[in-house]
């Protein structure tokens, strides 16, 4: 696919996504004025109410509202958050850093640990070390993420009083220093990592085992290479392209995982924001957040493909196949 085609597909998907979210959100019962006026919304007179709706553009048919939103959006105006009474990008910008910190650190930890853990399991296949790790991994993968958070809070905050249980920094004096932020990050990060680690480690283990069963491993050993060298140079090298593209595809998956963790730890990030906006019918904010996550998913999908094409020589060849005749008969 050419870049133009990809861009067109991307834009089309965003359009479909925005329309779908727009419709569903507005069809759902619930009063958006509540998030704008708070408690006051219930005491509004019908006239005041109509006025407020006109001001926020809620009195038009849904189709017209969507067209208006689309026009504004194309001019870079994504609307206003009812709850925060701020432009949507402003609201998101304030939270994005926190989520990127939690998600980014989680992402790096998950994928480096998973590679190590999977390789250890594959190396000791069916031996005690592998069995114990597999069992432990299966058990942790079964723990629901929110309950993992609760356990961590119960043990480390409530019982041992070692670490804070909520927020991204302490309120009041000394809040916001690096050490303070790090302390607040430990528990949510642990929850994010434990929630995803085994899924990827098990995948690494199984794809390594598949490589270890292939003929070229036997040939490499028959020519006198050591087991370790075969493992690193050949088996790991062979799973690398698919692992890298798996990493790219997993960006939204892990981001999605941080949503729950953020909510439990009241961590001020995109996750809590999405949750609040969906619950409070904060239409413009919700729509922007959905489009953001949709864009992340689609971009990471494209990234995955690009990575695959760079790292896997087979894909590279397929890309340039039209240029020169690669087949070499003999």
């Amino acid at each position: 696919m050419t870049a133009v085609k990809r861009l067109a597909a991307f834009l089309l998907s965003m359009l479909v996504l925005s329309a779908a979210v727009f419709w569903i959100a507005r069809l759902a019962p619930g009063d958006p004025l509540v998030s704008y006026y708070g408690e006051r919304a219930e005491r509004l007179t019908p006239e005041e109410r109509a006025q407020a709706e006109a001001k926020l553009g809620l009195d038009m048919p849904i189709g017209a509202q969507y067209v208006r939103w689309l026009k504004n959006a194309l001019h870079g105006d994504l609307g206003v958050s009812f709850k925060y009474r701020q432009a949507v990008p402003e609201v998101i910008r304030g939270r994005l850093g926190n989520t990127l910190l939690l998600g980014g650190a989680g992402f790096v930890l998950i994928f480096s640990l998973a590679l190590a853990l999977g390789a250890v399991c594959a190396w000791y296949e069916d031996r005690p070390a592998d069995r114990v790790l597999c069992r432990l991994g299966t058990v942790t993968s079964c723990v629901p993420e929110f309950w993992m958070c609760l356990l961590l809070i119960l043990v480390f905050s409530v019982t041992l009083r070692l670490l804070p249980s909520s927020g991204a920094w302490s309120l009041g004096a000394g809040g916001g220093t690096a050490a303070d932020r790090a302390r607040h990050l430990v528990l949510p990060l642990t929850a994010v990592v434990l929630g995803h680690l085994w899924y990827y480690a098990y995948m690494v283990r199984n794809s390594l085992l598949e490589q270890m069963r292939s003929d070229y491993v036997l040939l490499a050993r028959a020519e006198g290479l050591s087991r370790r060298r075969v493992m690193v140079r050949h088996c790991l090298r062979n799973i690398l392209p698919s692992y890298l593209s798996l990493m790219a595809i997993s960006v939204p998956h892990i981001m999605g995982g941080t949503y729950i963790v953020e909510t439990v730890f009241s961590y001020p990030g995109i996750g809590t924001l999405s949750y609040e906006s969906a619950m409070g019918r904060d239409y413009d904010l919700l729509l922007a957040l959905c489009l953001l996550s949709g864009a992340v998913v689609m971009v990471s999908g494209m990234l995955a493909q690009a990575v695959n094409e760079r790292v896997d020589p087979r894909m590279r060849a397929r890309r340039t196949r039209h240029g020169k005749g690669a087949a070499d008969r003999g």
Binding site: Y216, S226, A317, R321, D328, R329
Partner: protein, 648 residues
């Protein structure tokens, strides 16, 4: 032998599997002199691969091996640990595997992989020296333009080139012993012959010994000095190639030689070894071959025979060589009974008429692969028409077009006068076309639905077409068809994975016959089967033609099978029919250079003839788009380029 390169005594290998302990190799002893090629022959599952891996000590973790003595070039390796073994591998001995498609790492260039093998033994070599050595090795295994090709990846190479690259890797450490496990099985016949000759010439040049594992007696005859025949984990006969081929002593060797279609004289049916190899989970206490052996002695069922000397370097493990045993003259290879003189019915009217068939695939945009170009031939009622071609010749595409699964781009296929490619005509004759033509595929995991019982598979055509079963129920019908193809109705309720290859193929044939078709298209039906099972299936085809008047379109890559079975043969090369003639005529007077090279490449199970038979090489150029068919003798057509007569 004091100066032996390899000495192996009393080796046993067993695998722990969920079903029980599989005794894959049972008490095998062998030795190998420097510079000698020993061929280990046997059917699938006889333990030959396990034997090779045990010598290299590369068995998987669930295997255990015991050997009283295992020395290679004076090193006693029986008790060495993995760490001690490593420097010896590649330097002392090295290995080449069956499938060149999977034995190279797809992520490195061929040059890098050969270089890795070079450095594994000479770690101090400088980069330019390694490079020079890589080019040397590539040159040694006959890869031209090595400078350019060492930068290519394995998938840029054809099968034969990959196997050469694997050979280069194996030779990188200058091994004294080369073990080749089915090195040519996955290759086309013409490439197979080249690789075998290369193997032999390289081995002579380097003075290395080699163990060549194969199931193909033709390959053995071409390359081996000595032969060891394996059956059910044991060596049952060993000797020089001449001794084993011209004076076989073990009934199993007799059976193998007699079941080869290439040794069968005209009009004879093949000998098929009855029954199947035993499972090695609990091998029989006596001779494992006894229950398939017409000449079994009572003692064969009681005690395992030792290796009896049969003169010179020739040994065979059969009680028939015991002094107390009756003398039994070995049956002549190939002869198993003569078909009645009128066996081959005279061909009747034209059943299938293929005219100017063209088809191409489009695997990607702007890429077209011509699979078939201007192919025309006819098949008459009651004949077996053979189509021969190597991989990529378009033979499977042709079968699918004939069956109406693929619609060709141009040309027509008339079946009983109905144009199969014309949708309107085909729809009008839909019922006749569905029931009158049937297809049998190569035996593979996907040829029968793994989740259907044999009975349901056989009855499926009837159920689909809502035909009232003439024998009462569908099940009765399935049982009848099973008996018809020589399979016990005991297997009605088995699933395909529970059946052996030969049994599965019989089920596939029974299913095709259930509709009582006139035409049976067989796409490589015996390619995946062992020799003795292949003989059973070929006999069945012969029987069906002779007794029941079936017509076959038989597609194969193996010329000896085609020669045995078919009345007329067409040779396909890169989508074009290059030669078409009655079988006898084609084999006696091949005209097209491609046909000649094919014929010269068939390995004959006859060492004296085979060793010095020259290979007819063919340049490999694709036939041009033009050309016309010229009849050079009655019924013998050959494709000639425009303006220039074929060299006769």
């Amino acid at each position: 032998m004091e100066n032996a390169l390899l000495q192996l005594e009393h080796l046993s290998v067993s695998f722990r599997t969920p079903a029980g302990e599989v005794e894959a190799v049972r008490d095998v002893s062998l030795s190998l002199a420097p510079g000698e090629i020993l061929a280990v022959v046997g059917e699938s599952g006889c333990g030959k691969s396990a034997l090779c891996k045990a010598i290299m000590k590369l068995l998987p973790a669930n295997a255990s091996a015991r050997a009283e003595k295992l020395t290679v070039a004076g090193h006693d390796i029986a008790s060495l640990s993995e760490r001690q073994m490593r420097p010896l591998r590649g330097a002392l001995f090295s290995m080449v595997f069956q499938d060149p498609m999977t034995s190279l790492d797809p992520t490195y260039t061929v040059g890098a992989q050969i270089a890795e093998a070079v450095r594994a033994h000479e770690p101090r070599l400088k980069k330019p020296e390694v490079h020079r050595r890589v080019l040397e090795l590539m040159d040694l295994v006959g890869i031209d333009r090595p400078e350019e090709r060492c930068r290519l990846y394995p998938w840029n190479f054809s099968g034969g080139m990959r196997q050469r690259a694997v050979l280069a890797i194996a030779l990188a450490g200058r091994p004294k012993l080369l073990i080749a496990d089915e090195p040519t099985t996955a290759l086309d016949v013409t490439v197979q012959a080249q690789i075998l000759d290369l193997l032999r010439s390289v081995q002579r040049r380097l003075g290395a010994a080699a163990i060549l594992v194969t199931h193909d007696l033709g390959v053995v005859a071409r390359a081996a000095d000595r032969v060891a025949v394996m059956y059910a984990g044991k060596i049952v006969e060993t000797g020089t190639a001449e001794e084993v081929f011209y004076d076989p002593r073990h009934p199993y060797t007799w059976g193998l030689l007699r079941s080869l279609p290439s040794l069968a004289a005209e009009g004879e049916s093949l000998y098929a070894i009855p029954g199947m190899p035993p499972t090695l989970i609990a091998p029989p206490k006596g001779d494992a071959f006894a229950s398939r052996n017409e000449y079994a002695l009572a003692i064969d069922y009681e005690r395992q025979p030792p290796l009896f000397p049969a003169g010179g370097t020739h040994f065979a493990a059969t009680w028939l060589l015991d002094s107390r045993a009756p003398h039994i003259a070995p049956p002549r290879p190939g002869a198993a009974g003569v078909l009645p003189a009128q066996a081959r019915p005279a061909p009747g009217e034209v059943l299938l008429d293929v005219r100017h068939l063209c088809h191409s695939f489009h695997p990607a945009k702007n890429v077209a692969v011509r699979a078939l170009e201007d192919v025309s031939f006819t098949v008459r009622r009651g004949e077996i028409f053979g189509l021969v071609g190597e991989s990529g010749s378009g033979k499977s595409t042709l079968a699918r077009c004939v069956m109406g699964v693929l619609r060709p781009q141009s040309g027509s296929i008339l079946y009983k006068g109905v144009d199969v490619c014309d949708p309107a005509a085909a729809r009008a004759a839909r019922h006749m076309l569905r029931t009158d033509r049937q297809i049998v595929f190569q035996d593979s995991a996907s040829s029968l639905d793994p989740r259907m019982k044999a009975a349901d598979i056989i009855a499926e055509p009837m159920a689909v077409n809502h035909i009232a079963p003439p024998r009462g129920s569908l099940r009765e019908e399935a049982a009848f068809q099973m008996r018809y193809v020589g399979l016990d109705p005991l297997y009605l309720d088995k699933y395909p994975p529970e059946l052996s290859g030969g049994q599965r193929q019989r089920v596939a044939i029974a299913r095709a016959l259930a509709m009582e078709p006139s035409l049976l298209v067989a796409d490589e039906p015996v390619a995946a089967l062992d020799v003795s099972i292949q003989a059973q299936i070929l006999n069945l085809f012969r029987h069906l033609q002779a007794e029941h008047g079936f017509t076959f379109l038989f597609i194969a890559h193996d010329l000896s099978v085609v020669r045995y079975l078919c009345d007329r043969v067409g040779v396909l090369y890169r989508g074009r029919l290059v030669e078409l003639a009655p079988t006898k005529e084609l084999f006696a007077r091949p005209i097209h250079p491609y046909t000649k090279s094919l014929l010269s490449a068939i390995p004959l199970p006859d060492p004296r003839k085979e060793r010095d038979r020259p290979l007819c090489s063919f340049d490999g150029a694709a036939p041009g788009p033009g050309g016309r068919f010229t009849e050079t003798a009655p019924g013998h057509f050959v494709l000639t380029d425009d303006g220039k007569e074929a060299a006769l």
